[in-house]
């Protein structure tokens, strides 16, 4: 932090922006490892992938899309290849070429999902898009939402909740704040940071578009204090706009967790089982905001994203602009390959990411990071007896009792697990990280949540 040219003081020039550092209770501060990639510009090296592009029909929360093409069809870039009537967002082809298969394929979610496989013809012939470029100010609210829905935007931080649904809460709810989540608290990840530095106009424009949907909402750009350069980069674009403020948050994990972010900034708590809209908040990821801007102002669908590629096996770690559907193997090879035998491939950050058993899974809308670690960095520590140090209780950002939940899952008392709100666990991993006895606390909560869901389903059929 010594060579940081910006301090909190530059914010003082902007009225309304807070110099106070916002935070939530609990949390941890793992080694950031961000220095590896944070100063490298976003690379376009992998924008011309060779391998078969895989487009899973489910890249969001909700109902899976139905494929709209079949084997042998010619598709164009930006052509809809899957859509759903239910909760969800359409899927686009990010290349032009021929459909070679429509079959279940492994995806970053860990499950096999029906996918459209397209052979890239490298021409990138675009389909004629229905929405011409226009300033969002000339559009009605309905037209803006139509464009966002058309563009297939979902929460790109990892959750994948369809954005057009998020931006259209029930009528009786009024939205007070739209939060742009620039916390990026996971170690290694710098994609949001690079986007804020390289494309600040689109980040702010996306927020302005979202704000135009709500008459009384305030826009908050929430940035952790280890990313002051990003805050300084956004600063000129919010000058003179009294609806948007930059807020600086303490660098802490999971500061970027939706619920933690809302509590840190507004002091409100999202009710258990509820949505941020229940407390008048909408949280958007940085890349999502950029996607909104591209969708509304340029009429372009979501077909690319920024992915951080890191880990001790990667020859050229960095941030890459990637066409959605590009296999991870392709991303790795085009970036320069690996330097040693990988032992673990993590989709997402080290705290909450999922391990993949193969490099043959595609980058999807919610893939923010690919982490490839060697054996040395992946050894799972051996579990020993709980010493009741209370550190898990101290760090839990949901104020749960992880040691207790672990005990309950071990003796399979899922009723009590539910009673102690184990199902509210956000699986951030803080408890497992901090545990000196290396107990698998987060992991047991995951099991508990699955069992609790089964119990609830059974309870449902009985009635």
């Amino acid at each position: 932090m010594t060579d940081m040219p910006f301090s909190l003081n530059f914010l003082k020039k902007h009225p309304g922006s807070a110099v106070k550092k916002y935070s939530f209770r609990g949390g941890i501060h793992p080694d950031e490892h961000k220095e590896i990639t944070e100063d490298l510009p976003i690379s376009d090296k992998v924008m011309d992938p060779d391998g078969p592009m895989v487009f899973p029909m489910q890249q969001h929360v909700g109902a899976p899309c139905s494929p709209l093409v079949k084997k042998g069809d010619k598709v164009l870039r930006d052509q809809i290849i899957g859509d759903t009537e239910g909760l969800g967002a359409p899927i686009y082809s990010s290349v032009s070429g021929t459909v070679t298969a429509v079959k279940p394929m492994p995806t970053p979610s860990g499950r096999k999902v029906m996918s459209v496989v397209v052979e890239n013809d490298h021409a990138y012939t675009e389909i004629e898009r229905p929405y011409p470029p226009v300033s969002y100010k000339e559009l009605t609210k309905g037209q803006i939402l139509d464009r966002i829905r058309y563009a297939g935007i979902v929460g790109m931080g990892g959750a994948g909740f369809p954005t057009h649904v998020k931006l259209k809460p029930p009528k009786d709810i009024s939205i007070d704040y739209i939060l742009i989540n620039g916390s990026e608290c996971e170690p290694y990840l710098t994609s949001d940071y690079r986007v804020m530095i390289e494309d600040p106009w689109r980040v702010v424009n996306g927020l302005r578009i979202a704000l135009s949907l709500f008459d009384s909402a305030q826009g908050l750009l929430c940035i952790e204090d280890n990313k002051m350069k990003a805050a300084a980069s956004l600063m000129p674009y919010i000058e003179g706009d009294d609806r948007i403020r930059i807020l600086i948050l303490k660098t802490k994990f999971p500061q970027g967790g939706e619920k933690q972010l809302i509590e840190a900034v507004t002091g409100r708590q999202v009710p258990s089982g509820g949505l941020p809209a229940d407390v008048g908040c909408i949280v958007l990821n940085i890349d999502t905001s950029v996607a909104i801007s591209r969708a509304v102002t340029q009429g372009r669908p979501l077909e690319r994203r920024i992915v951080t590629l890191a880990g001790d096996c990667v020859r050229n770690p960095g941030n890459y602009r990637v066409r959605i559907g590009t296999p991870i193997r392709e991303l790795v090879d085009k970036s320069g390959g690996l330097t040693k035998e990988p032992a673990m491939l993590i989709c997402g950050g080290p705290m909450m990411g999922m391990t993949m058993d193969s490099l043959d899974v595609p980058v999807i809308k919610t893939t923010s990071c690919i982490l490839i670690q060697s054996r040395r960095n992946t050894l799972m520590p051996k579990e020993s007896a709980c010493i009741r140090c209370g550190k898990c209780v101290e760090v839990c950002p949901m104020f749960l009792q992880p040691y207790k939940l672990n005990e309950l899952v071990e003796r399979r008392d899922f009723e009590e697990f539910i009673r102690l709100h184990g199902t509210d666990c956000i699986e951030c991993g803080c408890c497992s990280y901090i545990c000196p006895a290396k107990r698998h606390l987060t992991q047991s909560c995951r099991v508990g949540k699955q069992k609790a869901a089964e119990l609830r389903r059974k309870g449902g059929t009985r009635q």
């Binding site: 409100r268 708590q269 229940d278 008048g280 673990m344 709100h421 699986e427 290396k438």
Partner: protein, 322 residues
């Protein structure tokens, strides 16, 4: 291009803090070292010898129990070492060599292992053993000779009313007084305690609650609060005994209540009991109360408060309507 097969699957998080049970216990042992060095210099080699015997027998009992019951050997977690050191620190330097051997057998076998080993015991093993020795061998445990002369401890002077013979604040603070050989040097205990607080090994709430209560209540009962925390086992107890993980509460609020409870009991025993010292008994008492404290200090889970249950943004604006 390699196929990169053989990727491990695992469940997040994939990153872990560097500390372990063993490193935490080593931190505690490290924090106790200056006290041991001082005791050796002031009370003589016997203090070091008793500590070594105590640590060795403590580790031996743990190993023996686990060996006989074919359980995984856990002596490398250093918890038995800490127990051994703490028990020795509670002995008078005149104690015979076999006393810590019996004491650690009681601490490790009965109090710790029979209840399930580390994390499962409901009383601090070192303290329970101390009290066991105190009631079993009262003469040995209450005789404190310095330079071959038997003399009373500051608290004993207070109890008998011989105030004029009691040592002053500075002597008590530095530890050049009579007493159990690991308890006397308050400045080194304070130093070790600070180290553990800075290293986040112990929570400041327990020692601050404990010492603060003794300090304030002593004045309320007409005593000298400063003198009360500078004498006896209160300081060692507050930083090293009451903070034992297994037997202190899990929540921060609970820890403060626990610390205050320890202080309250200590003052009651010191002022109204027949023993001159009450720190050990009061910590043991609060050890037993810990499950109860834990039960009633559970924090409200995020988003489950009544005010959050039906609160829409509209309600929030209109002034927190139910």
């Amino acid at each position: 291009m390699s196929d990169y097969t053989g990727l491990y699957g695992s469940s997040s998080p994939h990153d872990h803090a560097a500390h372990t049970t063993s490193s935490i216990m080593r931190d505690v042992a490290f924090a106790l070292m200056p006290i041991l060095i001082f005791a050796t210099l002031y009370f003589g080699w016997k203090a070091l010898l008793l500590t070594v015997i105590s640590v060795a027998s403590s580790v031996f009992w743990e190993w023996l129990f686990e060996k006989l019951l074919k359980k995984p050997i856990t002596i490398t977690d250093f918890s038995a070492v800490v127990t051994g050191m703490l028990l020795a620190f509670n002995l008078p330097v005149s104690a015979p060599w076999w006393l810590p051997v019996i004491g650690t057998a009681f601490a490790i076998l009965l109090v710790k292992q029979l209840f399930g080993g580390i994390g499962k015991n409901f009383m601090n093993p070192a303290l329970a053993a101390r009290c066991f020795l105190l009631v079993s061998f009262p003469t040995i445990m209450m005789t404190f000779p310095v330079d071959g002369m038997t003399a009373a401890t500051p608290l004993a002077y207070l109890k008998t009313g011989a105030l004029d013979q009691a040592p002053g604040y500075v002597s008590c603070f530095l530890g050049v007084i009579n007493g159990s050989f690991g308890e006397t040097s308050k400045i080194l205990i304070l130093l070790g305690g600070m180290y553990l607080i800075v290293r986040k090994v112990i929570d400041w709430r327990i020692p601050v609650g404990f010492l603060g209560t003794v300090f304030i209540l002593s004045y309320l009962f007409g005593g000298d609060g400063l003198y009360q925390i500078l004498t006896g086992g209160v300081m060692l107890g507050a930083f090293f005994m009451a903070t034992d993980y297994s037997t202190s509460p899990m929540n921060q609020a609970g820890r403060l209540i626990y610390g205050i409870g320890c202080g309250l009991m200590t003052v009651i025993i010191r002022f109204f009991g027949s023993y001159p010292e009450g720190a050990s008994f009061s910590i043991l008492f609060m050890n037993v109360v810990t499950p109860l404290i834990d039960r009633y200090t559970v924090r409200r889970v995020y988003g489950t408060g009544k005010q959050h249950l039906f609160k829409s943004a509209k309600n929030a604006k209109e002034g927190e309507k139910p």
